[in-house]
């Protein structure tokens, strides 16, 4: 069974540029999470979906970040105007239901210059 896949693996931007991250969860997993992991810190939840519905986006900086999961499968996280403080690894995770283990993808390492 394929794991959670993410692309790109790396991104380097200038401040003010936009970037999108893409996640393909494990097949059949209805819940999908996006986390931000700054260097030397633990993952911090940004947003999560059950199927196509947003369940919790309270930690998503809504002025510049957006996330969608239109068909309840793949998901895209977008940063509209990146800042140096956005430098981090962005992790996607999925699980089959609320009582199951979360499986993480390898992450996208973002550097904003």
């Amino acid at each position: 069974e394929a794991g959670v896949t993410q692309s790109p693996r790396y991104a380097v931007l200038q401040e003010g540029q936009a970037v999108s991250f893409w996640c393909d969860p494990i097949s059949g997993h209805d819940t999908l999470y996006w986390y931000q992991q700054p260097r030397d810190q633990g993952p911090q939840l940004l947003v999560y979906f059950r199927d196509e519905a947003v369940i919790d986006n309270s930690q998503l900086p809504s002025d510049r970040f957006s996330a969608v999961r239109p068909k309840g499968t793949n998901s895209t996280l977008k940063i509209q105007s990146a800042k140096q403080g956005d430098t981090a690894t962005y992790l996607c995770a999925s699980r089959v239901n609320n009582y199951a283990e979360q499986f993480f993808g390898p992450g996208t390492r973002l550097t904003v210059l």
Partner: protein, 111 residues
Amino acid sequence: QQQVRQSSQSLTVWEGETAILNCSYENSAFDYFPWYQQFPGEGPALLIAIRSVSDKKEDGRFTIFFNKREKNLSLHIKDSQPGDSATYFCAASESNNRIFFGDGTQLVVKP
């Protein structure tokens, strides 16, 4: 306020020793405590987890000791191997909702 705290940013042990990683939490309602292992360039992977109804969970060389009254727990890695060198994250959640992660302990096992 950080919900989950790990007492050491880093820990070094010799091969064969027992590594002990400590963790504490704030929210008494947390009832599920997973530990994740992360290697450089990879996402975290679930290592072992315990529910608050138990005070100990063992899986091979890995054991969680849980103290609900003190709101702390520890991960013991027996007979540490160089391949165990990684960052370990303590985490907690309430009723399988959002998971809160600590900032991790980087373990180095010297041969």
